[in-house]
């Protein structure tokens, strides 16, 4: 059997929630090795997304986090500390790809900005996934996925003709989902270009732009002076009760239970299982000659501190000193935020 497509590629994942973290997960699923780096004072918010019991090891018990981040190696490193920053630079020296979706400017404050990293590591592919992009007058506009549905044009065209514009909300946050499918491809394209030129690059990806791009024909129609109205389900389509109708066909409008019990879903790849049997984020493509699968469980916070730091060239004394200083950790410094 041939090796997976990205075998040998090393990814450092500074991705939070879905947009960054699930992009790295797709690279993992394509065969890359992914090291997820979180700080003891700055965990991925998915570890505390749906409430946490402060009396328990809540940071390792979030199903949302586990679902998205299964199979990644875990390092807990304080990047705000100069010693942590230096350890991160050592790690990046061994990496092919960095994926991040921090608020713009944060990595620059820590001495890990893309411009500096490009100078230090010319072969590194840096994928910066942000709401608005690296520049422009709205660069610092605070947005969640559903905010971007508003600003991208998607909400304006979603919903009934006589109703309000609709956003997908917390259960979907559509732009956060769809960007992963695109960003992972941009990373692979950059790796192919690196193979050709020897040079990495900085990918500056705006989620808002992508969401508008996925309405490209509507932008063209608007520019021609024939903008589409908000029109519900489209010509000839309707939803009556729990059934959707279109010319020539119909389908049930499923809820979570009906979906999870449906034979198509069970036979599909949208949700798979980790080796320990827990449901895991699936893989949205199938390769005939390089079968893809979920190979590993979710690692506990900092479980791979020693091995990853050693691979980055730190000797045991240096690793112990980082641990002693609390720069390298296996638990958060604070309890869960409410």
């Amino acid at each position: 059997m041939a090796e997976p497509p990205l075998k040998g590629i090393r990814v450092v994942d500074l991705g939070w929630l879905t947009a960054g973290a699930a992009t790295s997960t797709l690279l993992l699923d394509l065969g890359a090795e992914v090291v997820k780096v979180e700080g003891p004072g700055a965990l991925d918010p998915f570890r505390n997304w749906a409430g946490a019991d402060p009396a328990r090891a809540w940071w390792d018990e979030s199903p949302w986090f586990a679902f998205t981040n299964r199979g990644k190696r875990s390092v807990c490193l304080d990047l705000k500390d100069l010693r942590g920053r230096d350890a991160m630079l050592a790690l990046l020296a061994t990496a092919d790809v960095l994926v991040e979706n921090y608020r713009r400017g944060v990595l620059d404050q820590w001495g890990l900005g893309a411009a500096d990293l490009r100078k230090r590591f010319p072969r590194l592919v840096i994928a910066s996934i942000s709401s608005q992009g690296e520049d422009g007058p709205e660069r610092d506009m605070v947005s969640f996925g559903s905010t971007l549905e508003g600003t991208s044009g998607l909400a304006a065209l979603t919903g009934e003709a006589d109703g309000p514009p609709i956003i997908s909300g917390r259960d979907v946050n559509y732009p956060d989902q769809v960007v992963c499918l695109f960003a992972s491809g941009a990373v692979v394209a950059a790796l192919m270009e690196r193979d050709r030129t020897g040079e990495g690059c900085h990918i500056d990806l705006s989620q808002r732009e992508l969401t508008s791009f996925l309405l490209g024909e509507e932008l063209l129609a608007a520019a021609e002076g024939t903008p589409s109205p908000r029109m519900g389900y489209g010509p000839g389509c309707a939803v009556e009760g729990d059934v959707a109708f279109w010319p020539g066909g119909s389908a049930p409008v499923r809820d979570a239970k009906a979906l999870s019990e449906s034979p198509e879903f069970r036979a599909g790849t949208a949700v798979l299982r980790s080796p320990d049997g827990t449901p895991a984020k699936g893989i949205p493509f199938r390769f005939a000659n390089r079968p893809l699968a979920v190979h590993d469980n979710t690692h506990s916070l900092g479980a791979d501190n020693h091995m990853v730091m050693a691979e980055a060239g730190l000797d045991p004394a240096a690793i112990a000193a980082l641990e002693e200083a609390g720069v390298l950790a296996t638990r958060p410094r604070r309890g869960p935020t409410k």
Partner: protein
């Protein structure tokens, strides 16, 4: 969409004309017929090309499982239709061609990965799998926690509201509520907690509506953003043609054509 992206990445695209070729604005966005001959590095869809090192196929449910289907049907079957919208209104279908375009994004990523690996690959994309993949929170809530999220249910505290000149998207996390409360000037113990606001959703919405309705989208956004609340305006595609952010970043080209939605070392790939 997969072919369009490959073209933007620099591939030479040959696209035979056919009865399914899109027309109008859709055809101009995705790309019109381009004649040409092989050999080819990859073949996408039902191109009839044999022997390309990478074959990218699309189906509804997986290889060989390709019954007639619509995008509305995919949204319905995947649960993505049932979960979007307000509880007191019908489910809402995401605008445009989201299931097909998302499948195109997945297909392009997989095709690139196969080429990176040296080819000799057949990649299958199931539109149903991709649409379900997008809707993973709903599936995970059921499979991991035994919950059945419902449209307008326990997480339905984000919605749009009328402003003086359109609508805004009310989006906030619990940590933002003190700032939201201060911005709106409300003080009602029923709404102090998220559970309270969800329980009394109609009353909460009725209380805050006038504040938004009396202000423009720009004024609301400016005030909210100054407090770091992730509220934003609902903008129509026509407005995006002159959007300051898009203009500054060179995202919208002549005739409204959107550019590749990323820059590599400051430059947009353009084929």
């Amino acid at each position: 969409m997969a072919a369009k992206l490959c073209g933007l990445y620099g591939a030479e695209i040959i696209r035979p004309a056919g009865p399914m070729s899109p027309a109008g604005a859709l055809g101009r966005f995705l790309g019109e017929a381009i004649p040409g001959d092989g050999p080819f590095d990859a073949a996408i869809g039902d191109s009839g090309v044999a022997g390309a090192p990478v074959l990218l196929r699309f189906s509804v449910f997986g290889p060989g499982e390709d019954p007639p289907m619509s995008e509305l049907g995919l949204l319905a079957l995947s649960g993505l239709l049932g979960i979007v919208g307000e509880s007191h209104r019908p489910p809402a279908a995401l605008a445009g061609h989201q299931p097909a375009y998302a499948a195109g994004l997945a297909g392009c990523t997989a095709l690139l990965a196969a080429l990176h690996a040296g080819g000799a690959e057949t990649v299958d994309i199931s539109l149903f799998d991709v649409t379900c993949w997008l809707n993973w929170k709903v599936a995970a809530a059921m499979m991991v926690m035994g919950e059945v999220p419902t449209r307008g249910g326990s997480r339905a505290d984000w919605f749009t509201l009328p402003a003086a000149d359109g609508h805004i998207a009310l989006v906030y996390m619990e940590k933002d509520f003190s700032q939201l409360r201060a911005m709106l000037g409300i003080d009602d113990p029923r709404f102090e907690t998220r559970a309270g606001r969800l329980t009394h959703r109609a009353e909460f919405e009725a209380l805050i509506r006038p504040w938004f309705a009396a202000r423009t989208r720009a004024d609301i956004t400016r005030e909210a953003q100054s407090r770091r609340i992730p509220i934003g305006p609902v903008r129509a595609p026509a407005e995006l043609l002159t959007d300051p952010q898009y203009t500054a970043r060179g995202f919208i080209g002549p005739g409204g054509m959107p550019a590749m939605p990323f820059r590599a070392n400051g430059v947009r790939p353009h084929g």
